[in-house]
């Protein structure tokens, strides 16, 4: 459940986040930092605020409800799809930031070189920009994934707590504690700690390795 949610969300995050990051890194528009700030909002907003707005948006009377009616459902709230959308929104800054930094760090030069070698902007993006930004993608994907696994407040508000449907690890721990099942809570919590530790460790080692290759 948790892994499925985080994986789906991470893939969508990369698909949506990459063009946003590219645009933020390359555009000279004066209002691009406005967009940057909106993307970064989930970093500072309390999860309940975000969750509340997501609930309204995804609910039966919001655009999410309209979308859901396309396949005959009444609402996106309290569904797996709704959770994915929520996860994507609140994890967006964790993906966009590192990818944007990576795009900015490579500078104009490799892109100019590619252009003088007859590469179209599309080819340049895929053969030069993306490979050179690989460390950024890696960091972004790992952070996004880890954050999807760990988020609690928004998940509870948007997903509810429906077993086998929208019940994820972080919420399960809460449940166990509420019902005084300390042992189960302990196992899950310790598991999360180990998971978080391995993610951070894997990320730093991987980054070191790619940095060496990319030199």
């Amino acid at each position: 459940m948790t892994v499925e949610l985080a994986t789906t969300a991470t893939i969508i995050l990369l698909i949506i986040g990459t063009p946003i990051a590219w645009w933020l890194a390359r555009s000279k528009a004066a209002w691009k930092e406005m967009v940057g700030a909106i993307v970064a909002l989930p970093l500072v907003l309390p999860p309940t605020v975000l969750g509340f707005y997501l609930l309204v948006t995804l609910g039966p009377s919001g655009p999410g409800g309209a979308l859901a009616s396309l396949w005959g459902a009444r609402t996106l709230a309290f569904t797996f799809e709704g959770l994915v959308i929520g996860s994507v929104v609140y994890s967006m800054p964790f993906v966009v930031q590192p990818v944007r930094n990576a795009f900015e760090a490579m500078g104009e030069r490799p892109l100019e070189v590619a252009a003088t070698l007859r590469a179209s902007p599309w080819k340049t993006f895929w053969t030069v920009a993306v490979p050179l930004a690989r460390p950024g993608f890696l960091t972004g994907a790992v952070l996004g994934f880890a954050h999807c696994v760990g988020e609690f407040g928004i998940v509870l508000m948007v997903g509810g707590n429906i077993p086998n449907e929208t019940k994820v690890l972080s919420v399960a721990i809460y449940d166990y504690v509420e019902t005084m099942q300390w042992r189960e809570a302990n196992i899950l919590a310790a598991g999360m700690v180990v998971f978080a530790f391995s993610v951070v460790l894997a990320m730093t080692t991987l980054e070191k390795r790619t940095a060496r290759i990319g030199e």
Binding site: E112, V113, A115, T116, L117, R118, A119, P121, L132, E215
Partner: protein, 362 residues
């Protein structure tokens, strides 16, 4: 005018306005020469389409790359661009770098194997750029630019990021390129010695403007332009090897109006070599000197003179009729007056030093 490259760029550029227009021939190397920050690199970037300045025009080989209604994007312009730093793609091997811009099919001016051979990079193909020396990287970058089969080669100070020794290692490759390549080259530099060795045509720039433009030899010895009076004034003369005396290691080379004898390790009769003679290495005498260790004493006529503080820079034409190759001689004003030198006087030019460009490596 046989020129087929005609450009004019106008626009605001940092502290000054760029307003540069010049024509260049469709063959040979045209050097854009000027102090740092005079806008020469910007001109090159505009030609490549990497920078857009409105109110500009760029015509190459009959094609319009930019005018009031056209702006061809960089990847649609058939140029090869060599940047100051080699700028190889770090995530690709040398081979992949070389082939990145190479067209899959269609007519080829220069083949992959020829490039490998020309720049001697065959042993580097499977290496990563980070394991290459600065000189090797720049050779690969040159090869990569040529393999795009460009109609115009643009080089932005390709040697300035290299140390002196590496520079000397690359220059023969550029000289050789000059011999074997039929496409025109725009070469940006602030180093006069590179101009002397490589350029055929010169565009002098200063503070965003073109001060002068013309064949190298003419500009070097033209008293109206700043080169002839400068401290490093020199002329470059195209010469043809007449004979080579291996026992003394001396080559005889003929130029318009005279003949030079120059020490060199090897020379083949008929070979074209370039001589560079700086103004400080030429002294003047009214009569042919007696026995001397100076190899080259040539009769010449003074065609004009540039007074410069207490020095006089004389423009000489080899031979006595005033039509031969131009030389510059720097003498003190006292000697000038003492010998009664003036325009039209025939003198003996004693040439103490002649730099001979290396033969094309083979």
């Amino acid at each position: 005018m046989t020129s087929t490259i005609s450009v004019a760029f106008r626009g605001r550029l940092g502290r000054f306005d760029l307003d540069a227009a010049f024509d260049a021939p469709s063959r040979g190397v045209t050097a854009l020469f000027g102090p740092s920050g005079c806008g020469k690199t910007t001109v090159l970037r505009c030609v490549a389409g990497l920078q857009f300045l409105p109110e500009s025009r760029c015509l190459v080989n009959g094609g319009t790359w930019q005018d009031d209604s056209v702006f061809l994007r960089p990847h649609l312009r058939p140029v090869g661009y060599v940047f100051q730093e080699a700028s190889l793609f770090p995530h690709m091997t040398v081979r992949k770098n070389l082939l990145y811009g190479a067209p899959k099919d269609g007519p080829k001016e220069i083949a992959f194997d020829e490039v490998i051979e020309l720049f001697k990079i065959g042993h580097l193909l499977d290496r990563a750029p980070r394991n290459l020396s600065g000189g090797e990287r720049q050779r690969v970058a040159l090869g990569r630019a040529l393999l795009t089969q460009p109609k115009l080669l643009l080089m932005d100070e390709p040697l300035s990021a290299l140390d002196r020794q590496t520079k000397e290692e690359i220059l023969p490759f550029l000289e050789r390129l000059h011999e074997s390549l039929s496409i025109p080259v725009l070469y940006v530099t602030h180093d006069m010695s590179e101009v002397e060795r490589l350029a055929d045509h010169l565009v002098l720039m200063k503070a965003g403007r073109v001060v002068a433009s013309g064949p190298l030899g003419e500009l070097q010895s033209d008293p109206d332009f700043p080169l002839a009076a400068s401290r490093e004034a020199a002329v470059s003369i195209e010469a043809i090897v007449d004979s080579y005396d291996a026992s003394y290691g001396l080559a005889a080379l003929s130029v318009a109006g005279g003949c030079f004898v120059v020490p060199t390790a090897s020379a083949k009769p008929g070979e074209r070599r370039r001589l560079t003679i700086s103004a400080g290495d030429v002294s003047l005498a009214r009569h042919a000197p007696g026995e001397s260790t100076i190899l080259n004493v040539l009769p010449a006529r003074i065609v004009s003179v540039i007074p410069h503080e207490h020095q006089m820079v004389a423009v000489l034409a080899l031979g006595t009729d005033g039509t031969g190759a131009r030389l510059l001689a720097r003498v003190t004003r006292r000697s000038w007056e003492h010998l009664g030198l003036a325009e039209g006087v025939v003198v003996h030019a004693q040439v103490k030093g002649v730099a001979l460009a290396a033969p094309a490596p083979d």
